[in-house]
């Protein structure tokens, strides 16, 4: 245990070699093979990743997150805009000279090399002395708990072990920046959570600037210092997991990160930062409407998370009828019909609360503090 800690300390030395990443006005356009069209994969993105941070690019497939990652790695180049690693512009630097590492979705382990050689590969390429290679490689093998597997081949390892080898291979060369391309998507759910936590704690200990691409929002929430949400090539919001979840700037973001209910409303008045709105005939006061610019008289939509709603058999509140009740163990999920609207409501720890059944009449109480007012766009209700 003692020696292990010392190893980590030694490895921590290279956190000093890590550096930030900056994207300035980066656009990538692919010419389309069929027809005369073009496909804008990434549009005018500015991004600043400070040293030691883990930033996640999150979005549905086709949003441009992987393209962005590949531009930073150098496997694609921007159509316009500039990428900096540290303060150095990368326009003319090939991928192998950028001082970065990457963990691939498919792991991309070298099938014809054993685990030791897979991990030592980057060091051998650098033509370091034999003793340095041996020392570094063994250190990382120990750190990644791969001892005893050195002479095995990738195909003889389990998914989780392969993942560790891929990570070991990436960190052994002490990169300035570490890139992750959906690294956990090939693992089953349990292992994915475990590896996620392991990965995050390793990244924190080593302090390597990391950029992580995923389409799994819970993964992004769990590991990131900062989340960047992308949609159709645009960067739509950036912030800490807490900011993004609590203050989404559009229904798209609110819906992509977690679940959200959207209620069409008319903004009657804005006073002292509070918004007075009407959902149908029901007046609601929103004390903390959020980051979106709003003005009285406009049509907006309210965004409220399922866990910010209470259900009561009777009392003060908007009346509604339970149209669906689903038991999940840790929570009950209800669908409540209220006139034209329906709300998804989550009640945690159902053992201790009143259970409702389909067809029950209930009163709903919204946690006003948690309501945000967003610009109306095509709301994706699912």
């Amino acid at each position: 245990m003692k020696t292990m800690e010392r190893d980590i300390e030694e490895i921590q030395q290279f956190s000093g070699k890590s550096s930030g990443v900056r994207l300035s006005g980066v656009t990538k356009i692919f010419p389309q093979m069929e027809g005369n069209g073009e496909f804008v994969a990434v549009r005018n993105i500015d991004l600043n990743i400070t040293d030691g941070e883990l930033v996640t690019l999150l979005g549905p497939s086709g949003c441009g997150k992987t393209t962005t990652l590949r531009m930073i790695s150098g496997f694609e180049y921007p159509t316009s805009g500039e990428i900096f690693i540290g303060d150095r512009p990368m326009a003319n630097v090939p991928p192998n000279k950028r001082g970065i590492s990457m963990v691939f979705q498919s792991y991309a382990l070298f099938p014809h090399l054993n685990i030791y050689e897979n991990i030592a590969y980057g060091l051998r390429v650098k033509k370091l002395s034999k003793s340095v290679i041996r020392e570094q490689t063994n250190k990382v093998i120990k750190l990644m708990q791969l001892s005893g597997m050195e002479s095995r081949f990738p195909s003889q390892l389990s998914g989780g072990q392969q993942q560790r080898v891929a990570l070991a291979r990436a960190i052994v060369i002490e990169p300035k920046v570490l890139l992750f391309d959906e690294p956990l998507s090939n693992l089953d759910a349990k292992l994915r959570e475990h590896m996620r936590d392991e990965l995050r704690s390793l990244q924190k200990r080593l302090g390597i600037t990391s950029l992580y691409v995923t389409h799994d929002q819970s993964e992004a929430m769990a590991i990131s210092d900062k989340i960047v949400i992308m949609d159709k090539g645009d960067l739509v919001q950036m912030g800490s997991p807490k900011e993004i979840y609590e203050y989404p700037n559009s229904p798209f973001v609110a819906n992509f990160i977690g679940k959200a209910n959207f209620l069409r409303c008319e903004l009657k008045e804005l006073k002292d930062g509070s918004a007075f709105v009407k959902v149908g005939d029901v007046p609601i006061t929103v004390p903390n409407p959020g980051p979106v610019e709003i003005e009285a008289g406009g049509q907006y939509c309210l965004c409220i998370r399922p866990e910010s709603i209470e259900l009561m058999p009777e009392g003060d509140g908007i009346p509604g009828v339970i149209s669906r009740a689903t038991y999940f163990g840790s929570k009950m999920e209800y669908e409540v019909q209220m006139g034209d609207n329906h709300l998804i409501v989550e009640i945690y720890n159902p053992q201790l609360s009143v259970l409702f059944h389909e067809g029950d009449h209930v009163k709903t109480k919204l946690d006003l503090e948690c309501i945000r007012v967003l610009k109306e766009e095509e709301i994706i209700q699912d």
Binding site: V40, P95, A108, Y121, I133
Partner: protein, 570 residues
């Protein structure tokens, strides 16, 4: 999509992209140099010779453009007949070979027939065997002194020379090409489709007609075209057993060596080149898009293959008969090499071997040397071009792809003429040297390595190489340490094929050999022309032994040299 970023026109965009591609190349000098070097090689050794054949054909004595000779050739009835002969032979052989190949492929991939390993081995024998062997055999069996015609039935009026013998000999020689193509296709058709039809109550015959056959149709067309090309290109068989039946490849040779008419020869060569190149392009680009094969990556449940007696045994009988014929042919030559005078004195002797070794040892050594030099060069070059065309982006990639594949379709005779008139003056004075032979072998035999490399690379996840790059490796290191080892199998088959083709080449080298550099195949050819059949039989037997030994050796070398590093440093 409300575009915020600037929008560029498509042409500007692709120009911009290729500019960036080019800029990136400038930063990878090794890659750039390799690309340029490959282009230079392809230009000098493939495009220039072909161009020169055309130039020679349409240039008059004063160096101006002329079509006079061309019109002469076209109007000449004899040459018209030759053209029709070649086409007819090609068509018949394509049909027969593809039929045999399909039955073999179907029986071996779809049934539980016994003896599959044996049949597969028999079907590869014609691929690795030296030329002339089947012609020799048919003369031994059906010739004037033939074992079957004369000794068995006492017939001495049967004429073995002509199109009938050619059809038999070429069909046996080239059905393996169809067999291999169709095996690949049949293996990649997911059998669960057939199982589904069977489940719905279709009979086996109905399934074959409505599912298996239509799904393998592109493969059948491919096989037909490939065999057609081979038959047209074939020089060695028609040269010795065609009799009065003239074919383009042989006629070209006769015009040049007999009438010293290089221009007439190259015109005939062009007439030979056009159909083969058309067939090749058709096979390569038109059929590729028509393939129904879908690779799902999901291993489907291996169900039981066809085992009904009334299906299996007729197929087995067919394969046995064909294999019997092949064994008969090869066995005849083997025995013929130990027999004093075929048809007259059947006593055992080793004198032919003594004669052949004293006479032809140098030629054998030359063949082995040159094949050994050219095989690895062709193999590596094939892998490099596969790597470049599959994995890299650069200007002129398509040109590289097509021109490097093209030599597969260029008849050896045509390439030979091209080399003769390209490399007969300074600064490219190569005629009479070993270098010209090495170049001919390398470039003519490279396409198989290239093809194998390309299809293997397409199956290898691109990110494996990217992982190497991002670990700091440049293109050279990535190619040597990652790509090439992963291409081991393709490299091996490319090398073996190059070696075998170099050992057995006739048409491409018939104009290129020189007194100093005679080759084994030309030696056999001259033995043949001198009617020294038993000696020729000895010679080809020795060649078979050498080729088999070489295959084993190459396999061993590739396995050891590219073996994974297994040492672990603790």
């Amino acid at each position: 999509m409300g575009a915020k970023g600037q929008l560029v026109s498509r042409r500007k965009l692709s120009a911009k992209n290729s500019m960036k591609d080019f800029k990136m190349l400038l930063h990878q000098p090794l890659l750039l140099l390799t690309i340029i070097a490959v282009f230079v090689l392809l230009f000098i050794f493939i495009m220039l010779p072909i161009f020169n054949v055309f130039k020679l054909s349409f240039t008059n004595a004063e160096g101006g453009f002329t079509t006079q000779k061309f019109i002469e050739i076209i109007q000449n009835k004899g040459y018209g007949q030759t053209f029709l002969n070649s086409m007819k032979l090609g068509l018949i052989v394509a049909l027969v070979s593809t039929f045999i190949g399909y039955v073999f492929a179907f029986a071996l991939t779809r049934t539980e027939m016994p003896g599959k390993g044996f049949f597969r081995a028999i079907a590869t024998l014609p691929i690795i065997s030296p030329p002339f062997i089947l012609s020799l055999s048919i003369i031994f069996l059906f010739g004037r002194q033939g074992l079957i015609t004369k000794t068995l039935f006492g017939i001495d009026t049967f004429d073995v020379y002509g199109i009938h013998s050619l059809i038999v000999v070429q069909s046996i020689s080239f059905f393996p090409v169809a067999f291999l193509t169709l095996t690949g296709i049949l293996e990649s058709i997911d059998t669960s489709v057939e199982d589904a039809a069977y489940n719905m109550g279709a009979s086996r015959g109905h399934i074959f007609r409505t599912i298996t056959m239509p799904l393998s149709a592109p493969g059948i067309a491919s096989a037909l075209l490939l065999v057609f090309i081979q038959s047209l290109e074939d020089f060695s068989n028609p040269a010795v057993i065609a009799g009065g039946f003239s074919t383009l490849a042989v006629e070209t040779y006769r015009i040049i060596t007999g009438m010293y008419d290089l221009q007439g020869g190259s015109l005939l060569a062009i007439i030979l080149l056009l159909p083969t190149v058309c067939a090749f392009l058709l096979q390569k680009y038109w059929l590729k898009g028509k393939s129904f094969v879908t690779v799902t990556g999901k291993p489907s449940q291996k169900g039981r293959k066809l085992h009904e007696k009334h299906i299996m045994w007729p197929l087995f009988a067919f394969c046995t008969v064909i294999s019997g014929i092949i064994i008969l042919f090869y066995g005849t030559v083997l025995i013929g090499s130990f027999i004093k005078t075929w048809g007259i004195n059947y006593t055992f002797t080793l004198e032919h071997f003594e004669y052949v070794i004293s006479l032809g040892w140098d030629a054998l050594k030359n063949s082995i040397t040159l094949a050994t030099i050219s095989a690895p060069i062709g193999g590596i070059l094939g892998m490099i071009i596969a790597f470049l065309t599959v994995r890299k982006n650069f200007f002129g990639k398509k040109v590289m792809e097509i021109s490097s594949m093209l030599t597969f379709a260029i008849p050896g005779t045509v390439l030979g003429i091209g080399y003769v008139c390209t490399f007969n003056q300074k600064p490219l004075l190569l005629t009479g040297t070993a270098l010209i032979l090495v170049a001919a072998f390398t470039f003519r035999n490279m396409p198989v390595a290239l093809e194998a490399g390309t299809s293997t690379l397409l199956q290898i996840d691109r990110s494996i190489e990217e992982a190497s790059t991002i670990s700091g490796a440049d293109n050279g290191v990535t190619f040597r340490r990652i790509t090439l080892p992963l291409l081991k199998q393709a490299f091996f088959s490319g090398m073996v094929y190059s070696f075998v083709r170099a050992m057995t080449a006739v048409s491409a080298v018939i104009f290129l050999t020189s007194p100093k550099w005679t080759l084994a195949t030309t030696k056999v050819f001259s033995l043949f022309e001198a009617s020294k059949y038993s000696a020729a039989a000895c010679y080809v037997m020795i060649m078979i032994v050498i080729i088999l030994t070489a295959i084993v050796l190459i396999n061993f070398l590739v396995q050891t040299l590219l073996a994974p590093r297994t040492k672990v440093y603790k």
